[in-house]
């Protein structure tokens, strides 16, 4: 295992990832130079609004994008493996082995014609090569781990026979079945009811800690990120505009977009006052503005912002923002 010899302790390293979707009419610049890393056992939340490139980033990491129309550049490593150079066999071993993914809608991952038990058992047999009875015992263990009540009976249920919350738990059980070291979660609680969402979030947090999985958790919800993240990366128009430990970013956001997002997220504002909304809407990914993509909506924008894309700046260890104002702002605090 050359992974153990490496100095870099990161489980995931993504460097300057770009993803474009090319069609005859237009090119969609979905991801535009994204760099991040995830350590083993760490939860990185990718936070961003609709269309900011969160799902495309995750899918690129699993090579789940349609190969013909998709142009990917950059470098992605998971546990030392270079994702872009893996052949089909290696990709298959990667997916559902080293890396697992859970989605917003469990029905996309669960097959409606097989019982929950059959699906989990098959997955275990395929990846672990153990006997069916051993796999069944493991499947039962997994359903109990994700706190599905009367787990033994549930093994014989079809996905549609379960409530939304139970289906999501079943999908998590399946994702955990091959002891992944990296869990990719794309808005796994967004479709759930509030009282169920918090149950699943707490469960995921606990499992992630106990099993020591590195996790990339995609969400558009600041509150969800505050419950689960160690670090957050804020995406806007296909770029990470800010990154840092969750508490720091939420307490003192550096990038004007993060600041605006927090101000416009309704949580306890005075009822007789307008919410401090960000004007305008996100840019068209077919025609990105030159320079900082947020500049057209930014109250601090200067001609310099529109001239070139701001380089990442790190005012303190572990924090980063792509904004030309950042260093000045932080130094004035110091």
């Amino acid at each position: 295992m050359d992974g153990g010899m490496k100095l870099a302790p990161n489980l995931v390293e993504v460097e300057d990832l770009t993803v474009r979707f090319v069609t005859r009419e237009a090119t969609v610049h979905a991801v535009n130079g994204v760099t991040f890393s995830v350590r083993p056992g760490e939860v990185l939340c990718i936070l961003g609004e609709s269309g900011s490139g969160k799902s495309v980033t995750l899918r690129a990491l699993m090579r789940l994008l349609p190969p013909r129309r998709t142009k990917i550049t950059g470098r992605m490593q998971v546990d030392g493996q270079d994702i872009l150079s893996l052949d089909r066999g290696a990709l298959r071993r990667l997916r559902g082995g080293l890396v697992s993914m859970i989605f917003q809608e469990p029905m996309t991952a669960l097959d409606p014609v097989y019982t929950i038990g059959t699906q989990i058992i098959e997955t275990i047999c395929k990846h672990k090569g153990i006997s069916r009875s051993a796999a069944r015992a493991r499947a039962l263990e997994l359903l109990e781990l994700v706190k599905i009540p009367s787990a033994a009976q549930r093994l014989d249920n079809y996905p549609h026979e379960l409530s939304g919350g139970l289906r999501q738990r079943a999908m998590i059980a399946m994702a955990l079945s091959c002891d992944p070291r990296l869990l990719l979660a794309d808005e796994p609680t967004t479709a759930l009811d509030a009282t169920v969402q918090i149950q699943v979030l707490i469960l995921l947090r606990k499992l992630q800690r106990e099993l020591g999985m590195g996790t990339i958790f995609v969400t558009h919800d600041l509150g969800v990120a505050s419950e689960i993240a160690d670090r957050i990366a804020v995406m806007y128009a296909g770029r990470i505009v800010e990154e840092g430990p969750v508490a720091d970013v939420l307490r003192a956001p550096l990038h004007p977009y993060t600041q605006g997002l927090m101000a416009s997220t309704v949580h306890g504002q005075a009822r007789d006052q307008d919410i401090d909304a960000i004007p305008g809407s996100p840019p068209d990914l077919r025609r990105l503005p030159a320079g900082c993509s947020f500049a057209p909506r930014c109250r601090y924008a200067t001609p310099e912002c529109r001239a070139s894309i701001p380089e990442p700046r790190s005012p303190e260890p572990g924090r980063m923002a792509r904004c030309i104002r950042v260093e000045a702002a932080v130094h004035s605090f110091a």
Binding site: S163, G165, D193, L250, S264, D274, I275, S281
Partner: protein, 349 residues
């Protein structure tokens, strides 16, 4: 009028509630289900909507919020129950017609695509209502231009566009413009901001507040987002599995919830503070199926305080009188219920 509604208020005038719903009921047959199986989507809902207020309706998916909204507009027929609009019974011989109701009550939905005609410039969609309701073509067009300005869209720039040429927030502004173009007195907003990005949701919420003041509107605001409901509402109605479990002024509901479900719902909101995360979920399990809901109190299967009495008899919501009344359907708050922890409610005015 010989059939005065048995309400303590005068008919018409500021004290007359704009809308009174009495014991509304709507059950749907279950397709492919057992014979006779029904979804009790709305199962005996009563409330009062006062003039000029915003009443927020919260509750989890499938609890009947949208069905209730559609009943209020008579988009679907209630199986039972009565609707009184500004003192007039709706769709009764002596009351007001459904058409007259729909001239005064408009609705904005979550999914903009279903309500805007994709093959029509949005200015025509907005002008359609005033035209149908009797304005001349040119007057209707002018009304559309005026209202587009009011929702913050330049009519010269955006009016000629088709829905697919607009962002989500812009489409929702058009939907709001369309609802307001016929000058309704009341607007039902069913998850009207839920599909929007946070940065755009805030813009639309500000707009809704401004329009309400401007046009003297009454809102029924349906949302599963408690923070948004808290911001926009004067009073809040909490639903669980087809029935009302709590009703009261917004600050009362959020600071002194009476029903254990409301408490759980409030406690399920993410903390927004990584240093104070929620360690234990307020309640466990999923909401049960509305096809065969639990007997007695529907929340009892998930309630930490459930006792045999909760299965034996359904709690009643209690009497509300005015905008300050705070009531809950829970045996805990009925001293005569027989629940061992029951005590009189202090919240009720």
């Amino acid at each position: 009028m010989d059939m005065m509604p048995p309400s303590s208020f005068d008919r018409g005038g500021p004290a007359q509630p704009l809308l009174i719903a009495r014991d509304l009921r709507k059950h749907f047959k279950v397709k492919g289900g057992a014979p006779g199986a029904v979804v009790r989507a709305v199962d005996g809902v009563s409330f009062t909507l006062f003039k000029g207020e915003t009443l927020g309706i919260v509750g989890e998916s499938g609890c009947g919020k949208s069905t209730l909204a559609r009943l209020l507009l008579h988009l679907i027929q209630p199986d039972e129950g009565e609707l009184v609009f500004d003192g007039d019974t709706v769709a009764e011989v002596r009351g007001i017609s459904v058409n007259a109701l729909r001239r005064q009550v408009q609705m904005v939905f979550q999914d903009s695509y279903s309500s805007l005609n994709p093959r029509m410039p949005v200015q025509d969609s907005v002008a359609f209502g005033p035209y149908v309701h009797g304005k001349s073509r040119s007057a209707a067009r002018q009304a559309a231009r005026d209202i587009l300005v009011k929702v913050g869209l330049n009519p010269d720039l955006f009016g000629p566009r088709y829905p697919h040429e607009l962002s989500g927030g812009q489409k929702q502004r058009v939907n709001i413009a369309r609802a307001l173009a016929i000058e309704p007195r009341m607007v039902i907003l069913d998850e009207a901001v839920s599909a929007l990005d946070k940065s755009v949701e805030a813009q639309v919420l500000n707009l809704l507040r401004a329009l309400k003041a401007n046009f003297n509107l009454t809102y029924l605001f349906i949302s599963h987002d408690l923070n948004v409901v808290r911001y926009i509402s004067d009073r809040v109605l909490v639903m669980y599995l087809g029935s009302v479990v709590e009703l009261g002024p917004v600050d009362e509901i959020f600071s002194r919830p009476l029903h254990p479900y409301t408490t759980a719902l409030l406690g399920s909101r993410p903390s927004m503070d990584p240093a104070n995360r929620i360690e234990e979920p307020p309640i466990t399990g999923d909401p049960p199926s509305p096809i065969d809901p639990p007997s007695g109190c529907r929340f009892r299967t998930r309630c930490p305080h459930a006792e045999p009495v909760c299965a034996a008899k359904p709690p009643v919501l209690g009497e509300w009188h005015d905008r300050t009344s705070h009531v809950a359907a829970c045996h805990l708050h009925d001293p005569a219920s027989g629940h061992s922890m029951a005590r009189a409610t202090v919240g009720a005015a």
